[in-house]
């Protein structure tokens, strides 16, 4: 690439970027994204605390609770679990252990129309212990109160079970241990490592899928804007004036970089707004862990080191340049804005292929994170910008793969940019019918430009 081919790239970049940032479409979309981002965290928190708040009862409306025990291990008929004197909500509830049958008791409650009493009915079900609470429909007692009472009684039952087991706290802990299976293998270098065929978990899948989705969105948004900018130069017939100062390569590269910065900027603004909004929501609701934070599995981003961040960003940026160049090529093939949609079919086909392959790879990661298809997609230039950054961040793609993917993309970007600039140069003065792909390929072969004499 000669230096004068790139002369003026900076000016084209600045002008395109500033005009894009000043455009109403861009401002409106940023405002909409900002509003969405700012309100997401507090609204979600409100919904969550609203739901929790509904469960919380200041003082219970339950005046009396009839305990109709059918559990064989409650030898005193249920009085073992009815001491709620320490509970602020239910301390005033009067418990009465009854020998009446559950059916008879229900009938009596209905007849008396007592809306402040409930029946506590613990029994042994198929799955284990069930604590049934029955209230009179339309009475003062709410369903949430019954749920809260049931939760407390379950806790009491648990404490009672531990008490009668005669085991110490340590023994009880041992009894509560869960089992986890871990299969490792020793590499030829003698290192102990995870099983190669292990799949990713739900949280990891979420991270990789989110990155793939975000990259795809940026890619489509930025690329179509590049194509539009390229056609605008031709359709507005400014291109001939520009070409006395800059080469087509500089025009194309300047536009690609400007649109990428504008679109990535939009995304960065969005992410920053979500983070700030989340922090403020935490302060506002006086909680360290907001609902939004709770959605991100703990430790999922532990592999997000500076090196991985740089590698991932480079991969994404190079991938975006590749897709944007393809879109620019489509833009170079037409001279009128109304023809662009037709020309963009080539870009759409390639990008959809890339996206679907990336989705397939990510889905297959759940079964095995390092299968041959995943490995292929981590290196293949259409899919590597979408899969490899996420895979690297969750530590399932080796650094060597990411670096090879970067090298492949670098070479491909250079070749695509050169080809696109060549086509752009050849067709820059073409104001006639759209050029078909076969013509472009023939043109590249013959190195002959299309156009018309005047």
């Amino acid at each position: 690439m000669k230096s004068n081919e790139l002369r003026g790239t900076g000016d084209v970049f600045r002008f395109t970027l500033i005009q894009t940032l000043k455009s109403k479409a861009y401002i409106v979309s940023v405002v909409l994204l900002l509003v969405t981002a700012i309100f997401t965290a507090p609204v979600m928190q409100l919904i969550k605390s609203g739901a929790a708040g509904n469960k919380k009862v200041e003082t219970s409306n339950i005046k009396k609770a009839y305990v109709c025990n059918e559990l064989p291990f409650l030898l005193e008929g249920g009085s073992e679990i009815t001491d709620l004197s320490e509970n602020e909500v239910f301390k005033k509830v009067e418990f009465e252990v009854t020998t009446e049958t559950f059916d008879a008791l229900s009938e009596r409650l209905e007849k008396e129309g007592d809306g402040t009493s409930v029946i506590v009915h613990p029994y042994l079900g198929v799955q284990g212990v069930t604590v049934e609470i029955v209230r009179l429909g339309g009475g003062d007692v709410k369903g949430d109160e019954c749920s809260a009472l049931a939760d407390i009684l379950c806790e009491k039952l648990d404490q009672y079970k531990k008490k009668i087991s005669g085991l110490s706290e340590e023994e009880l802990k041992i009894l509560a241990y869960n089992y986890e299976v871990e299969i490792n293998y020793i590499t030829p270098e003698g290192e102990l490592t995870d099983d190669a065929d292990k799949g990713i978990n739900g949280g990891q899948f979420g991270v990789v899928y989110f990155i793939m989705f975000a990259v795809s969105m940026i890619c489509i948004m930025a690329s179509t804007q590049v194509a539009t900018a390229v056609v605008t130069d031709k359709s507005s017939r400014v291109v001939e004036l520009l070409l006395t100062s800059v080469r087509p390569m500089a025009l194309l590269l300047g536009k690609i970089l400007a649109m990428l910065v504008a679109t990535i900027g939009q995304m960065v603004i969005l992410v920053c707004a979500v983070v700030i909004s989340n922090k403020l929501t935490g302060m506002l609701f006086n909680t360290e862990s907001t609902y939004l934070t709770s959605l991100i599995p703990k430790g999922i981003l532990s592999n997000l080191t500076v090196a991985n961040a740089v590698v991932s960003f480079t991969l994404i940026a190079l991938g975006l340049v590749f897709y944007a160049t393809l879109a620019g090529l489509c833009g170079a093939m037409v001279s009128k804005m109304e023809e662009l949609q037709e020309s963009l079919k080539y870009f759409t086909t390639v990008s959809i292929l890339g996206m679907y392959a990336a989705i397939a790879a990510i889905l297959s990661m759940q079964k095995s994170a390092t299968n041959i298809f995943v490995k292929f997609c981590e290196l293949f230039p259409l899919t590597s910008p979408m899969t490899t950054p996420g895979a690297r961040i969750i530590d399932v793609a080796p650094m060597s793969y990411a670096l090879i993917a970067i090298a492949i993309l670098l070479v491909l970007d250079y070749l695509t940019l050169r080809f696109a600039a060549g086509v752009y140069e050849g067709l820059i003065t073409n104001m006639g019918n759209p050029i078909k792909l076969k013509d472009v390929i023939a043109m590249a072969r013959n190195k002959k430009s299309k156009g018309g004499a005047d």
Binding site: S236, E240, L241, T244, T429, G451, A453
Partner: protein, 312 residues
């Protein structure tokens, strides 16, 4: 300094659109490229400016291969336009920046040209009724003529040493045509190299010293305009008399080219035949209002050359 085009050729498949165009400008001045639509003028200009790859030939500036990006070129293209949605000021600053003109200098130039081309109200609109500044207009808000003035402005902002004007006056009203002519005259007076392409022969005659007439990619006539005209001789005689002179014209054996109420245009073989006809009029006591012996106009030369080419 000199500018030279050597044997420029361009073909699209079997069709040759420019075939061996050569010309030279040894010093500042205006060189005209003439031709019918499709003659190859714009293709030649695009090759000269490096927008279109030439099949063969050379474009030399001071004896060296010309690098358009490095030379300060002002270009008013035939297929001209502006960004419709961007403000005029923004795009003029951009065009100036691409030419390496800094913002401060560019603003000075824009103000100068805006005033000169009577575009102030569009580029620097006055404050509104509330005293607030109003943004420069967008190109889409301007008439075609005013857009053309902005395009000329864009071409001249960097004070270029080499100016290419492709059909500069097409579509302009008489007032703006005069304004453009005045600007072009000024540029010529600054010792610039100007290449002009136009269909308007009187404009070319007004500005250009050297011409090339192209037809279907071929050069059909080339050289200094005055010398070309001289080579044709003074063969056009325009006569207006008070009495009828049809009989005398017949006696003198002259050919009537055109007869209008204002004058009769005759074809003579040269000055001697014209003088003989003048004597004939005097001897017959004809009152002569007008007797004007002229060289052929560029229009006539053009029609003769291009018309003959097209009849082949």
């Amino acid at each position: 300094m000199s500018f030279e085009v050597r044997n420029l050729k361009k073909s699209y498949g079997e069709k040759t659109v420019v075939n061996g165009l050569s010309f030279k400008m040894d010093g500042p001045g205006v060189y005209a490229l003439l031709g019918t639509n499709g003659a190859g003028k714009t293709t030649s200009i695009r090759m000269i400016l490096g927008m279109l790859k030439k099949d063969s030939g050379e474009v030399l500036w001071n004896g060296q291969e010309m690098e358009p990006e490095k030379l300060n070129i002002g270009y008013l293209a035939e297929e001209r336009g502006l960004y419709p949605k961007y403000t005029l000021l923004d795009q003029l600053l951009y065009f100036a920046k691409l030419k390496g003109v800094g913002r401060t200098k560019a603003m000075e130039k824009i103000k100068y040209w805006s005033n000169r081309l009577q575009l102030d109200e569009y580029i620097f609109p006055p404050k509104n009724a509330k005293g607030r500044p109003v943004k420069s207009m967008r190109a889409e808000q301007l008439s075609k003529g005013n857009q053309q003035k902005v395009q000329l402005m864009a071409a001249l902002l960097s004070d270029p040493e080499f100016v290419v004007l492709d059909e500069p006056m097409s579509g302009l009203d008489p007032v703006n045509t005069d304004l453009f002519k005045e600007v072009i005259r000024d540029e010529i007076s600054k010792d610039k190299y100007v290449i002009m392409s136009s269909h308007q022969m009187p404009t070319i005659e007004e500005f250009c010293s050297d011409i090339t007439i192209m037809n279907r990619g071929q050069v059909v006539l080339q050289g200094n305009l005055n010398e070309i005209k001289k080579s044709y001789g003074r063969v056009n005689l325009f006569v207006k008399c008070e009495q009828p002179i049809d009989e005398l014209i017949r006696q003198a054996g002259l050919t009537v080219i055109e007869e209008t109420p204002a004058e009769i245009q005759l074809r003579v073989s040269g000055e001697e035949q014209a003088m003989a006809f003048l004597n004939l009029l005097i001897v017959n006591k004809i009152t002569i209002i007008r007797f004007d012996l002229r060289e052929p106009s560029l229009h006539e030369i053009f029609v003769e050359k291009v018309g003959a080419g097209n009849e082949e």
